[in-house]
C-alpha cells in the first residue's frame, strides 16, 4: 500500500473517469440509433467518443484542469490565507475575519442572524476571493507612454511561467501531471523565466520606478540563480537523478537509528547537503521575492516596484501569483531536502519490524506533503515579517560573496564524502 490518495496516478484516474463517462454516452447513442434507423450516422459519433486518442486527450485535459485548479486556486488561496492570518497574529491582531456570513444580503444576513452568528467573525478564508472580485471590476489602465505590446505580454509571460512550474511539480507520487526524466531542471527553468518577464514589465511601463524595479529583479536573478544551481549540483551527487520523484524515493530509506527513533535519510541530515539546504533556502527566498529580499517591489521606495503601472486584474494576477511561486518554492525545498511526501519518523514501525521502515498509511502522502510545505512556508512568513528589507547592493553582496563560496564548499564536501565512502555519510 502506497499511502497516497491519488494512486496510481492522476492521469490513470482521469482516464478511468472519462472512459466511464464516454462509455455511458456512446452506449446511449448506440441504443438510441440502431442500424437502419434515420439517425444511423450518429453511430459514428459514438465510435469516435470511444477512440483511444480522444479519451487520452480528454483525460489529460481533465488532469491538467484539476492540477491548475488545485494549485492556482485552492492552494493559492490557502497560502495567502495562511500568510495573512499568521502575520496578523505576529502583529498582535486578528487579521482577516470576513466570512460568508458577513455578506450583507439575503440569504446570508438572514441565516447569520438566525444562527446568531456575529457578522465579521469568521476564518476569513474567502477574503482573498472578495479581493479578487474587487480587482476584477477595476479598470485596466495602460499608460499612454507605455510600450503597449510589451506591457501586455509581460503579465502573460510571468503568470503562465508560474503556472508552468506545476506541470512537473509533484504533490505525491501520483499527483503530478508529467513525470519526465529531468523534471527538476524543468521546474528550475520555469522558475527562472519570471524575472525576465519582470524586467520586460518594468521596461515597458516607461516609468522610473518600474524600470528600477525591473533592473533590481534582473540583478537579483543573476546573484541568486547561481547558488541555486550549485546547491542542486551538490544534491545530485547524492541523489543521482534529475527526476524529482526519484529524488524523493532516494530519501525514503533509513539513515541511522538514534536509540529507538529512526532518522530518515532526508538530504538535510548530511553535512554538505545541509550547507546546500541553507544556501537553497536563502536563494529560493530571493526567487520568491519575500521580504528581506523583496527589493524589486520595495514599496517604501519604489511605490509598488515593477507592478506600479499595472491595475485591475492584471495587477491582481501578478500580485497573487507571488504566493503561487512561494508554494512552488516551498514545495521544491520539501522535495529536495525534507523527504518530500514521506512521513516523519514517529509514524514508522521500524523497531517492530526490524530494519525496514514502513510508513503507516493512515495519513496520506498528500497530507504529509502539504503539511511540510505549509510549515516551511510558515517559517518563510515568520522570517519575512520580522526582519527589514535588505538594500540592493547588500543583497548582491550576500548572493555573490557569501552564497556562491558556500555552495562551492557544499559541492567540494559532497564530492569528498562521496569518494570517501558511506562511512562518512557519503552516498548510500
Amino acid at each position: 500500500m502506497s499511502g497516497a490518495l491519488v494512486s496510481p496516478d492522476l492521469f490513470t484516474l482521469c482516464k478511468v473517469l472519462i472512459t466511464g463517462i464516454m462509455k455511458i454516452q456512446s452506449d446511449a447513442i448506440l441504443a438510441g440509433a440502431p442500424v437502419g434507423s434515420p439517425v444511423e450516422p450518429l453511430r459514428g459519433l459514438a465510435y469516435f467518443l470511444m477512440e483511444d486518442w480522444f479519451l487520452t486527450f480528454n483525460a489529460w485535459m481533465i488532469a491538467i484542469t484539476i492540477m491548475v485548479t488545485w494549485a492556482a486556486a485552492i492552494q493559492l488561496l490557502t497560502m495567502m490565507w495562511i500568510e495573512r492570518k499568521f502575520y496578523s497574529r505576529l502583529q498582535d491582531r486578528y487579521g482577516i475575519m470576513i466570512s460568508i456570513w458577513s455578506l450583507p444580503f439575503w440569504p446570508f444576513s438572514w441565516w447569520a442572524k438566525r444562527r446568531n452568528k456575529p457578522t465579521h467573525r469568521g476564518l476569513g478564508y474567502l477574503q482573498n476571493v472578495a479581493d479578487g472580485v474587487k480587482l476584477l471590476q477595476k479598470e485596466n489602465i495602460t499608460p499612454a507612454n507605455a510600450d503597449s505590446a510589451m506591457f501586455h505580454t509581460a503579465p502573460v509571460l510571468i503568470a503562465s511561467s508560474t503556472v508552468m512550474i506545476f506541470a512537473a511539480l509533484p504533490f505525491s507520487e501520483g499527483f503530478v501531471i508529467a513525470n519526465m526524466p529531468m523534471s527538476l531542471l524543468f521546474i528550475l527553468a520555469a522558475f527562472s523565466l519570471a524575472p525576465l518577464g519582470i524586467l520586460i514589465a518594468g521596461w515597458a511601463s516607461n516609468n522610473k520606478y518600474t524600470l528600477i524595479g525591473g533592473m533590481r529583479a534582473a540583478a537579483q536573478l543573476m546573484a541568486y540563480e547561481i547558488p541555486l544551481l550549485l546547491a542542486v549540483v551538490a544534491l545530485l551527487m547524492y541523489a543521482g537523478s534529475l527526476n524529482v520523484i526519484d529524488i524523493v524515493h532516494k530519501q525514503e530509506a533509513l539513515l541511522v537509528m538514534l536509540g529507538p527513533i529512526p532518522i530518515p535519510a532526508w538530504n538535510v541530515f548530511s553535512i554538505p547537503q545541509f550547507i546546500g539546504f541553507a544556501v537553497f533556502l536563502v536563494a529560493i527566498m530571493a526567487e520568491m521575492e519575500r521580504i528581506p529580499f523583496d527589493i524589486p517591489e520595495a514599496e517604501a521606495e519604489l511605490v509598488e516596484g515593477w507592478l506600479t503601472e499595472y491595475s485591475g486584474m492584471r495587477f491582481g494576477l501578478l500580485f497573487g501569483f507571488k504566493w503561487l511561486r512561494a508554494l512552488a518554492g516551498s514545495a521544491l525545498v520539501v522535495i529536495l531536502y525534507l523527504g518530500g511526501w514521506s512521513g516523519p519518523v514517529f509514524v514508522t514501525l521500524t523497531p517492530a519490524v526490524g530494519a525496514t521502515v514502513i510508513p503507516i498509511p493512515i495519513i496520506p502522502h498528500e497530507v504529509w506533503f502539504l503539511l511540510k510545505v505549509y510549515l516551511l512556508f510558515l517559517l518563510f512568513v515568520w522570517v519575512s515579517w520580522s526582519v527589514p528589507r535588505v538594500r540592493i547592493d547588500q543583497i548582491l553582496n550576500i548572493g555573490w560573496k557569501r552564497l556562491i563560496p558556500l555552495s562551492l564548499l557544499a559541492i567540494l564536501l559532497a564530492a569528498y564524502l562521496a569518494a570517501l565512502g558511506p562511512a562518512l555519510g557519503g552516498i548510500r
Binding site: 510589451m150 529531468m182 531542471l185 525576465l196 515597458a204 534582473a218 543573476m222
Partner: protein, 105 residues
C-alpha cells in the same frame, strides 16, 4: 488519424523560429529584438527536444532564460530608448501643459 504529430510540432516550431529570427533583425527597438531572440532560442530548445535531447533542451531554456536578461540589461544600460534620437527633457509628454488639462472637469 494519420497525423504525424512530431512533424506538425517540428513545423510549428520552425515557423516560430524563423519568424522570430526575422523579427530579431527587423525590430525597431532593441528590447523588442531581445524579446524575439528569447522566443527564437526557446523554440530551438523545442527542436532539441524533438531530437530526443532532453538535457540540452532544458539547459537551453535555463541558460538562455538567464542570458537573455543579460542582453536586456545591455540594451537598457548602453542604449537610449530611441536609438539615434536626441532626447530632451519633457519630450515624454506632448505639451505637458495642455495634455492633462483635457481630463480635468
Amino acid at each position: 488519424m494519420a497525423v504525424d504529430w512530431q512533424l506538425a510540432a517540428f513545423l510549428i516550431l520552425s515557423v516560430l523560429e524563423i519568424g522570430g529570427s526575422i523579427m530579431v533583425v527587423t525590430a525597431k527597438k532593441l528590447v523588442h529584438a531581445v524579446f524575439w531572440l528569447a522566443l527564437t532560442l526557446v523554440t530551438i530548445g523545442g527542436i532539441y527536444l524533438l531530437f530526443l535531447s532532453e538535457f540540452l533542451f532544458l539547459i537551453q531554456i535555463l541558460v538562455y532564460a538567464g542570458a537573455v536578461p543579460v542582453l536586456f540589461l545591455f540594451g537598457i544600460m548602453l542604449t537610449r530608448r530611441k536609438i539615434m534620437e536626441e532626447v530632451t527633457p519633457g519630450e515624454v509628454l506632448e505639451g505637458p501643459g495642455e495634455a492633462p488639462r483635457e481630463g480635468l472637469p
